[in-house]
């Protein structure tokens, strides 16, 4: 047990004891790994853990808990997601207590298990813009400082992408893991069969992934949850990062940095 975990548990316990929140969203141990958990009683605060296995983005749950007072454990990227959700009017900043934890990089699960390891350092952590959440009510500092471990992920060449997309199963795990994917009739999950049909059709994977990329462009905070959830390990974060670069270059806009910014929707610029 680490000092950071202790601090985290004590904050959660106190929030629940004093009824500041009804629930605390955090992580708990699950076999050799961790999974999200919802703690509603102060005595259960001991379930909460904090480790590099905590790759999942808990901000995903906030929208469905709208209207309730909740506390949420947030890494830097999770906090950026919260900022985006607030800016897109999906979450009320005043109803959530953000327990920011300083993150030094996470491990993502290995799907094919070829190396024998259960998880490896996530490649996207190397590009993280803010290790601590930009919005925070509490801050738990890291036990060990320092940059994330070097990831053994291979570089992705432009010509690799089509074959990466071809591996896709259209399982939508990426959509389910992403806090910013909340459309009730998601364009790529079959609600628009003329665009993307539910059954797997290899050709359509092109449209599936490009449409998702277009919808994430300028909004994605590169938390990597989609990539880590993907059963065939498509490095989605890398793709969305390229499109975010376009926003950085053309609009000086970085998603998730500041509450109150409007989502740039491929926009009319006042002086453009």
């Amino acid at each position: 047990m680490s000092r950071a975990e202790d601090e985290l548990r004590s904050i959660a316990r106190s929030l629940l004891e004093n009824r500041v929140v009804e629930l605390v969203l955090g992580y708990e141990r699950y076999g050799r790994s961790v999974r999200p958990c919802f703690v509603s009683k102060p005595e259960e605060a001991g379930r909460l853990v904090w480790s590099p296995e905590c790759w999942f983005n808990l901000a995903k749950y906030l929208r469905s808990l709208r209207g309730r007072r909740v506390g949420v454990v947030a890494k830097g990227c999770d906090g950026r997601s919260i900022v985006e959700l607030v800016n897109e009017n999906q979450v009320d900043r005043g109803s959530i207590i953000v327990i920011a934890v300083e993150c030094t990089g996470v491990n993502r699960p290995v799907k094919y298990g070829s190396t024998g390891a259960a998880s490896i350092p996530a490649e996207y952590c190397g590009r993280c813009v803010s290790r601590v959440s930009p919005v925070a009510d509490y801050l738990v500092k890291a036990d060990v400082q320092g940059p994330p471990e070097e990831s053994p992920g291979a570089t992705v060449h432009a010509s690799d992408w089509l074959s990466l997309f071809a591996k896709c199963l259209k399982c939508s795990a990426c959509v389910k893991a992403c806090p910013l994917c909340y459309c009730t009739e998601c364009s790529i999950e079959g609600f628009k069969p003329d665009l993307v049909h539910r059954l797997r059709d290899s050709k359509e994977l092109f449209t599936f992934h490009l449409t998702r990329a277009l919808h994430m462009a300028g909004r994605c905070v590169e938390c990597g949850a989609c990539e880590s959830a993907c059963p065939v390990e498509i490095p989605l974060t890398r793709l969305y990062h390229e499109l975010n670069e376009w926003f950085r270059e053309n609009y000086s806009y970085v998603p998730g940095s500041r509450i109150g910014e409007a989502p740039p929707a491929l926009v009319f610029k006042e002086d453009g």
């Binding site: 060449h157 432009a158 010509s159 690799d160 992408w161 089509l162 074959s163 997309f165 071809a166 591996k167 364009s187 665009l195 290899s202 050709k203 359509e204 994977l205 092109f206 449209t207 490009l210 449409t211 990329a213 277009l214 462009a217 793709l239 390229e242 499109l243 670069e245 376009w246 053309n250 491929l266 926009v267 009319f268 610029k269 453009g272």
Partner: protein
């Protein structure tokens, strides 16, 4: 039969008159260049352009009114921004970005449309067939 590029041209209402004029002046272009008219270029969803590529287009052109000619400036600007973003996406995934372009054509610029289409067809022929469908199937 030698391969000829399949091109989809999205024309806005006004630039469509320009394309009509090109036909009127006797400018011929290969039958694989098909036009779809929409009321305003801003209504073109970028996913629609993606779908065109998936279904076999080797190139997609969007003809629109120059921003300064419009009653208001923005719709063309938005189209410009969307096409620019989509070109970046195509480039990132290894598809030549010049397969997607905007042409500024006003309603009396049939001649300009003719010249531009000839030039672009030449370039696309050099790039070769895109064949997204084929490439996706063979990897998958």
């Amino acid at each position: 039969m030698a391969w000829k590029p399949r091109v989809i041209v999205f024309t806005c209402w006004c630039s469509s008159s320009g394309v009509d004029q090109a036909g009127f002046e006797g400018f011929t272009y290969p039958p694989n260049v098909s036009t779809i008219r929409v009321p305003c270029s801003a209504i073109i969803n970028p996913s629609l352009i993606v779908k065109a590529f998936e279904k076999g287009a080797d190139a997609v052109l969007v003809t629109a009114c120059r921003p300064s000619e419009l009653r208001s400036v923005a719709p063309s600007r938005i189209t410009e921004a969307r096409v620019s973003l989509l070109r970046r996406l195509l480039k990132t995934i290894g598809v030549e970005e010049d397969r997607l372009r905007i042409l500024w054509i006003s309603s009396n610029e049939g001649g300009l449309f003719s010249r531009e289409v000839s030039r672009i067809l030449g370039e696309v022929e050099r790039l070769g067939p895109l064949n997204i469908g084929g490439r996706m199937v063979e990897q998958g």
